[in-house]
Amino acid sequence: MMTCKEYVFKLTSGQLEEADRLERFWAGQHRLMCRHCRAFTRNDQRLDGILAGYKDQITRADDQAKPD
């Protein structure tokens, strides 16, 4: 059985995206049983949107960043 540490590593390293069906199945089983890892996964997915917004903010032209 996969531990929380192993699950989180596979998720955050990107290994899970490249994993085979069996590996994904075990990861899904772990998520079903662990509410902390479910919460971590939801937050990790939300992090992608946060990072996109952050990138947009720091790469905005200075005249766009000024208030009207």
Binding site: K5, G14, A39, G49, I50, L51, Y54, I58, A61
Partner: protein
């Protein structure tokens, strides 16, 4: 706008000066995510802006400045990273035991009480404020240098895994370690500095 000395009167006027004025500061902010010290980041930005001067003005007047400039800057940054970090030591040599994992997980690999995550419930619109992005910036600055480089190449330069490994001289397991460390630490940092108290 300053007309470059080699431009002919009939040639399209290129927006070099305007682009440099508008985009120099955001390019520097972006470059500093990847390159330290600041002087070296400034050099990368200067290289990118200098490269503009050799571009056909007819191309520039039709180009999207943000896409064009950050495209050049990406190459200038990866060139510098490649020269600087080609022979990096491995993640384990650099960090030994991962102290973050020892904070998050017990000896059996399960979450430690008190740091186990709860779902972030802050409304989406609050995550576009300057205050929130200042916290994101703080969390980015707190990353150790090596995971920070790998993470920013992946997330902000949109590089593929193989390109990152080749540029920084990393093995794939080292890449995985760095990405995992960065995402875990950023989630923990955002949780502690923004979301805590607003979770279920």
């Amino acid at each position: 706008m300053t007309t470059p000395p080699h431009a002919t009167p009939s040639a399209p006027t290129a927006p070099w000066a305007q682009w440099a004025r508008d985009w120099r500061a955001p390019m520097l902010r972006f470059a500093q995510l990847h390159i330290q010290p600041r002087e070296e980041a400034e050099d990368a930005v200067q290289d990118a802006l200098t490269a503009l001067l050799s571009t056909d003005p007819a191309v520039l007047v039709q180009a999207d400045p943000k896409r064009y400039l950050f495209g050049i800057l990406k190459h200038k940054i990866t060139d510098r990273l490649r020269r600087k970090y080609r022979t990096e030591m491995s993640y384990n040599d650099a960090f030994g035991d991962d102290e973050l994992d020892n904070t998050l997980f017990n000896a059996r690999g399960h979450w430690v009480d008190g740091v186990a995550p709860a779902t972030w419930t802050t409304p989406e619109e609050q995550l576009h404020s300057d205050q929130f992005f200042a916290v994101v910036d703080l969390c980015m600055q707190k990353l150790p240098p090596k995971p920070a480089r790998v993470f920013s190449m992946k997330e902000f330069l949109d590089c593929e895994t193989d390109e990152i490994c080749t540029t920084l001289g990393l093995s794939k397991p080292d890449y995985w370690q760095c990405m995992s460390r960065a995402r875990k630490q950023i989630q923990l940092c955002l949780h502690q500095n923004w979301f805590e108290g607003a979770t279920t």
